[in-house]
Assembly symmetry: C2
Homo-oligomer: 472 residues x 2
């Protein structure tokens, strides 16, 4: 046995240090099977520790099978405890490696400190009534009965499902039972879990093109074969729905096509739900920000047209804030049980307190109030963006999808937003998001960018457009 | 057009009621394409509302494409807005369906109010320092900077990953960088996400038999072909590891085999990691409750023997409480990036506040204190169970896996715990969990039950064993 030094300044107890060093010597082959260890008295003297400390380490090593015979005449290294491959040095005593400098929480990719980023789907975080919300959540947390610490159900808290039933009926014309509502940890989890239920490897999935990249990747990760269907200014081009193939699922954003902004007309909605029934294809309606409709009232959901074949996906990420991690699905009855069994396998269930707080927040009318307030503010920001664009680019910028949501799409005549142009705009202090970035089939939208306005002050919007006007 | 009544007591605005009724009549074909609607004046008179209310409803219907020409000489139903299949009646005005009576939060299946349930893996929830914890979480929530509401990273908060690095080094001999630690929403999410990265449909996955049912189902849901490997009292029988097939992944519980309780000896550990390297098989070590080790110190992790080929899975469900929804993985460097891209597609990221609170809870030594306290209490409960069983069944009950964790396995000589026996025990007020329930290959463990003691008072444990003694 090779003697070694103990680190008396370490947070690791001496017993654990002796254990670590001896087990490393055995695993590494320095101490061989059959070799006799020093007595606890001898080791204690050599290492300058009490016999108890050595005895504890030996007992631990024996319990794990490294050593034999510690209670008898001698202590020996057991057979078969040497690793047969060269390993990274097993940890001996000492401090753990220097931690990397921590990053600020909430850091987001693609945003620069000073740049005006017309990013999509970003609510105005500074206007979230966060302290009021945090208090509700704390109350929900402090008020939890002891049994609630033990677990919950995959469908989510009944209080929130009932609050959502009334909310969805009132706002979206959705008539469902609370049992059809499944709370998720954000909309993407709902999509991903639903995909795991409905899709087999290779299942065709119909997807709007351009469309929601992360959702598309989530379906692809479940083995989907993505079939892109082009969209125009009115949304999905239903005349291009395939007549010969039978997709398992179609993902659509009828209220405000992401990212082009079109609102699907009732004629296309009817064509879509009829086609889907015929094709045996489940429709998944992602209704991500329809609460913000500025010029007329909210357009009804697609779900309303065929509750038995449309799964409706909603989220609190846009109406409230993304890090809340709360979304929900309204499922056709036939899918409820299967969906919940999949959710159970994905992560069992979500933490109850935010759900209970949101149930109260909705029930007390505070979410409606927040939405009404934000709708006014977002409308002002939209008007500022549209006005600035029309003034800066008269007749040259066509603005799509202005009626709803947190962004518009802007088509510039005769321009192509390739990487060099985007980069020079970025250097001037504006971050733009080309619609081509969201397209699977490239080349049809090179003159169009999507511009989110919800998180920007009017002054920033105007300054951003002025910078654009200077470049384009 | 068929006239209809408005419900003035409804929470639904009158405009929305008119909209709902007219759109239903159009979708259902009662109002046909080309049909002229009454003027707003006429409709207002008929329905007893102001013209504005009707005008708003018409505008909404026109915006969605149901109606044409509302600003001109007459208002007509548009083509193509009739559903071609009989649908559930679309919702008209009226109250939503009566909600079902809500269930109590935290309801758990399989437990009866008065029965003594020797369930597995259940911490003593009444001893969780919950108010102190809730305060920490509330502080983390109230202290969040505005940008933190916008999002976070899939790997979790850096504060918790750094706290875990030190914790894992100290307790489990794990030497890793914080970048290898990925926070998950419970251990199962980590497993499920890892499976989605490593497995193809049909990939063979080696699984302890008997073993953790939900984890097995999560792997199967990802397309795994489960290969059961028998376990004995010392854990996985490594001499039965397949020499001819190359599983993609092997799921093991070396600290305290679930549910038989064996602790894998160092000889088997060495055999396992060497075999896995040879076979190109990723080892997944589920270390679900190794913090509770009563007779000697904690056995080192398998991860320590081969950090490049063992993914270590940990959870706060047992050391703290299940509804906290916090777990973590320590990943081999080569898997980190792929894993995080999968986590992003599963649900993007977990809510930061519980992570920040846990970082403080660990950093201030409070988790260690809680674990030390619970270890004393659980040891007392284990001693009570073992003592009561040995007194009630002298020489007839063999107790396995007593050294660690929250349960033991008990083998009764000459007994078989089939459904009739389990049911008659249940009727006497005791719920027992046969090991056969966890087995894929049935028939090898019919005389063995797993008995969790952590959540039961000594008095309950003794009463439960007395009831058993009366029946067996």
């Amino acid at each position: 046995m090779r003697w070694f030094a103990l680190d008396r300044g370490s947070s690791l107890p001496l017993t654990r240090q002796i254990y670590g060093e001896l087990s490393s010597q055995i695993l590494g082959g320095e101490l061989r099977a059959g070799e006799r260890l020093p007595s606890t008295r001898e080791a204690a003297g050599e290492l300058g520790v009490s016999r108890n400390v050595v005895m504890e380490a030996y007992e631990q090593l024996a319990a794990e099978g490294f050593l034999l015979g510690i209670s008898g005449a001698g202590t020996y290294v057991a057979e078969g405890s040497r690793l047969g491959f060269p390993s990274r040095r097993p940890p001996g005593p000492g401090a753990p490696a220097e931690p990397e400098p921590s990053r600020a929480p909430g850091r987001e990719e693609g945003s620069r400190a000073c740049a005006i980023d017309f990013r999509l789907g970003r609510p105005a975080l500074d206007l979230v009534p966060y302290r009021a919300w945090a208090r509700l959540e704390c109350e929900a947390r402090l008020g939890a009965p002891v049994e609630a610490l033990g677990g919950a159900e995959p469908e989510g808290q009944p209080e929130l499902r009932e609050a959502l039933q009334a909310y969805l009926w009132r706002r979206r014309g959705i008539d469902c039972r609370p049992e059809q509502i499944a709370i998720s940890s954000g909309a993407l989890q709902g999509l991903s879990t639903l995909a795991s239920l409905v899709l087999e490897p290779g299942s065709p999935v119909l997807f709007e093109d351009p469309g929601h990249v992360l959702a598309r990747e989530a379906f692809a990760a479940r083995g989907a074969a993505i079939l892109p269907i082009p969209v125009d200014e009115e949304g999905l081009r239903t005349e291009l729905l395939p007549r010969d193939s039978r997709p398992a699922l179609a993902f659509v954003t009828p209220s405000h096509q992401f990212p082009l902004g079109g609102c699907l007309s009732v004629q296309r909605r009817v064509a879509l739900v009829e086609w889907a029934r015929e094709a045996g294809c489940l429709l998944v309606e992602d209704d991500y920000e329809s609460e913000f409709r500025y010029d007329v009232g909210p357009v009804s959901s697609l779900q309303r047209l065929d509750p038995e074949n449309v799964a409706y996906v909603g989220t609190f990420s846009k109406v409230f804030f993304p890090a809340i991690r709360l979304g929900y699905l309204v499922l056709p009855e036939r899918l409820v049980e299967g969906y919940l069994s999949r959710r159970r396998l994905a992560d069992r269930y979500g933490a109850p307190p935010p759900q209970l707080a949101m149930a109260r927040f909705i029930g007390e009318g505070r979410l409606d109030k927040h939405i009404a307030r934000m709708r006014r503010i977002y409308r002002g920001r939209r008007d500022a963006l549209v006005g600035a664009l029309e003034a800066a680019f008269p007749g040259r910028a066509r603005i799509l999808g202005r009626a709803t949501g947190l962004h518009v799409a802007v088509r510039f005549e005769g321009l192509a937003f390739g990487p060099p142009l985007i980069e020079s705009i970025r250097r001037a202090g504006v971050i733009l998001h080309p619609v081509e970035d969201y397209a699977l089939v490239k080349g049809s939208h090179s003159g169009t960018v999507a511009m989110g306005y919800s998180h920007l002050e009017v002054e920033e919007i105007e300054r951003g457009v002025a910078i654009l006007a200077g470049i384009l």
